[in-house]
């Protein structure tokens, strides 16, 4: 198990390196002169040159990348084009909002999707199954920001059960934090739960047809025991993979849903940075976002190893 964890973490290094080269390279393809955007149109050639030196634009690409990487390893992802704000600070400042939404949404999705999927899988073909799967199919088709809009109006505007906007840090008040992300998490979780429910149901049905379930029945085990001991753990294998994918989808969804609630998370940061072509900021968001996703994937892999001894061994 330890070996699995170590190998997964070591495996991250080349992955992150490739991602960083990709983003660094890609974002340096931006047409036009960066300096123009920073200095405006009235700057002198001397100013241009000085800024070029300051940004290291006079160096070859690899040197630029090497410098950037060196600093990035020390936690410095560069500085905004437009002021002295550190990219790392800006992104880390925005992450709590986005991560709250992502993982809150995941929690909602798990709480709805997994039981619904198990239930539907156990009652394959029954009414519960048909209703659950119909809802899941519809749920998958709902844009989460639309759900967010629809939730916002009654709950936050008419009845004011939760604030319509604003994020409270969990460090300040857990209750306020929950309130500030609740609607967004429900909006995000709804569509994610649909995918999760379908996947769980499929996994459940698949597992229930396996030979070892027949063995378990032939052993005279109770249905409860067969369902919860023998079926669930095996059904968890594909479901856990789905969770990995869903975290990625939820993070993306959070970027948009943030806008509905006017929460200043990574979404606002990146949208604004795209609009102003603040490349270091976009780059920082992509890199740190990737770090989040791959960290989650490592956790997913570890969980995967826990339910699937085969993975652990290899």
């Amino acid at each position: 198990m330890l070996r699995l964890i170590v190998s997964r973490i070591v495996g991250l290094v080349p992955l992150l390196l490739i991602v960083s080269i990709l983003t660094f390279g890609m974002l340096h393809l931006v047409p036009g002169d960066v300096r123009e955007r920073i200095l405006g149109f009235e700057a002198t050639p001397e100013q241009y040159e000085a800024l070029g030196r300051q940004l290291g634009l006079d160096q070859p690409f690899l040197v630029q990348y090497g410098r950037w990487l060196g600093r990035a390893l020390q936690g410095d992802l560069g500085t905004s084009y437009f002021n002295s704000q550190k990219v790392t600070d800006a992104v880390l400042g925005a992450l709590p909002v986005t991560l709250s939404l992502t993982f809150g949404g995941m929690l909602v999705a798990l709480a709805i999707g997994v039981p619904a999927g198990v239930w539907a899988g156990l009652n394959r073909g029954g009414r519960v199954d048909r209703i659950a799967m119909f809802m899941a199919t519809v749920g998958q088709a709902l844009p989460n920001f639309w759900i967010a809009m629809l939730l916002l109006i009654p709950f936050a505007i008419w009845w004011q059960l939760v604030p319509a906007t604003g994020f409270t840090s969990p460090a300040e008040s857990i209750g306020d934090w929950l309130r500030s992300i609740l609607l967004a998490c429900i909006a995000l979780g709804t569509s994610a739960s649909a995918a999760l429910a379908r996947q769980t149901r499929g996994a459940m049905i698949d597992v229930l047809q396996r030979d070892f379930i027949r063995t378990a029945r032939a052993k005279g085990l109770s249905r409860t025991s067969i369902t919860y001991k023998h079926a669930l753990k095996n059904a968890a294998v594909p479901v856990i993979t789905t969770i990995g994918f869903q975290v990625n989808a939820l993070l993306s969804g959070a970027l948009i849903v943030e806008q509905v609630f006017g929460l200043r998370g990574v979404g606002s940061l990146v949208i604004e940075s795209v609009r102003t072509q603040n490349i270091p900021m976009v780059q920082g968001v992509v890199i740190l976002g990737t770090l989040v996703i791959v960290s989650v994937n490592v956790l997913v892999d570890i969980a995967y190893g826990w339910v699937n001894p085969r993975v652990r061994a290899s």
Partner: protein, 339 residues
Amino acid sequence: MSVLLDVADLHVHFTLRRGLFGQEKVIVRAVNGVSFMLQPGETLGIVGESGSGKSTLGRALLRLVPATSGNMRLDGREITKLRGRMLEFRRDVQVVFQDPYSSLNPAMVVADIIGEPLTLHHGMRGAARDARVGDLLEQVGLGRHQLERYPSEFSGGQRQRLAIARALASEPRVIVCDEAVSALDVSTQSQVINLLEDLQAQTRVAYLFIAHDLAVVRHISHRTGVMYLGRMMELGPTERLFEAPAHPYTRKLLDAVPVLDPAVQKRRKAARRNLPVVELPTPTRLPAGCVFHTRCPHVMDVCRHEVPEPVPVQGGGWVACHLQSSGPKLAGRPLDALG
């Protein structure tokens, strides 16, 4: 008789990588120094348990996996190192696989499946091709009207007939039958075996008949080779090999196959030696010396260190066993053979 196929000291090794960075290399010696010859119109049976390398041997012969070392000659022509499409070689050596379901492309109709080699090797197209495919279908006991059907519309036995028709299409000299009847039910199996025998009588095609079912091999083969963990342990005329096996492993295999006479079988069962259960060696961790020594009831010191060389056996063929070369003998015959 002339030699059609000559395989000498064939090795097929695979490399697996393990560990964090794939730093641990594990070499799987799937086929480990196998030699034999095949004559036109002959059936050579290859028997062995799973992991014995018999299928890999067939695939190496078909050039589906590369040989690590050794030589294969077809009609005296070196075929081990052929490159490219090898059309001429492909025409001469064909295959019938075990699984009649996955060996036929589900997206193609019969005419295309069987017609493909006709187009490739004989340039036949259109009506001419279809006519020839029809002939082939009739030859294997199917009807011309089935030209436009998909493989999924046939039963297991019929599919195996289709696979045989495809193999025949290029008019090959050798057909590798890789467990060709193993997946079939008994009543269908006998139909296919009879078909193979009839075709051989008509076309003098040679079969390399790979199977785990000794009874089938005994029935169909002229000569039989026994493989264990990548090595050929014994090879000889089928009747001799089955009636007087020279290798303890051959004997063990033969003893393990139940016979249909309950009285006889009960006697054999009572006579079995109840050896302790051991973990079987795998192709990744081959025992030193004779690969069979870990399971051999007659194991001698020499078996643990030296790989036995093939020695001729009375009644035809050869065997690679120290008992036959350096073991104790009685009246000029190895002790074990007296059983």
